[in-house]
């Protein structure tokens, strides 16, 4: 079965600093990959998804960007963090067909101070 590695678990960054969160997937090939953000006590907001290497779709305009340099690697980045970028970031993977469940990483709690 699929395993999603996401790190770090916790990150504290100053406003204006850069960000790079990495997610790697094991146990599947050519998955769809997703970045979600969860504000405190709220639901999950889809930020980006990717159906293949180099293919990125953005769901909401924001200060963040995503890249997929390899089949099973998905990176979330920012050049300059804002206070509003704080939140819990989850990487997810759909390995196959429509209707299959998403597998989630363990998440990164980002605090921008």
């Amino acid at each position: 079965s699929q395993t999603i590695h996401q790190w770090p678990a916790t990150l504290v960054q100053p406003v204006g600093s850069p960000l790079s969160l990495e997610c790697t997937v094991e146990g599947t090939s050519n998955p769809n990959l997703y970045w979600y953000r969860q504000a405190a006590g709220r639901g999950l907001q889809l930020l980006f998804y990717s159906v293949g290497i180099g293919q990125i779709s953005s769901e909401v305009p924001q200060n963040l960007s995503a890249s997929r340099p390899q089949d099973r690697q998905f990176i979330l980045s920012s050049k300059k963090l804002l206070l509003s970028d704080s939140g819990f970031y989850l990487c997810a993977c759909n390995p196959g067909h429509v209707g299959e469940k998403l597998f989630f990483g363990s998440g990164t709690q980002l605090s921008v101070l």
Partner: protein, 113 residues
């Protein structure tokens, strides 16, 4: 935007009793999937149950069952014989064309001993 609505931010249930969590959704697609995920304090997303929209039969997984009303776009989760370990945030979700999931805002379930 196609949304998923959970109108109960918080619910509580006595241990061993039954509780129903509500969810309504919007979609223009004829074929889609619906999910309930559980997020305990660890924040790991755990799939509880899945329903295929073209199937009329309601899905069941042990103590968890759904009431799927396609015409009403309603998808409620029933938890029978509630246990302390069921305490968590529960999210309803609907699949999209890129296999992404759109989530509701969640229902925080408390189980009272």
């Amino acid at each position: 935007a196609q949304t998923v609505t959970q109108s109960q931010p918080e619910m509580s249930v006595q241990e061993a009793e039954t509780v129903t969590l509500s969810c309504t959704y919007d979609t223009s697609e004829s074929d889609y999937y619906l999910f309930w995920y559980k997020q305990p304090p660890s924040r790991q997303m755990i799939l509880v149950i899945r329903q295929e929209a073209y199937k009329q039969q309601n899905a069941t997984e042990n103590r968890f069952s759904v009431n799927f009303q396609k015409a009403a776009k309603s998808f409620s989760l029933k938890i029978s014989d509630s246990q302390l370990g069921d305490a968590a945030m529960y999210f309803c979700a609907r699949s999209g064309s890129a296999r992404q999931l759109t989530f509701g805002s969640g229902t925080q379930l408390t189980v009272l001993p």
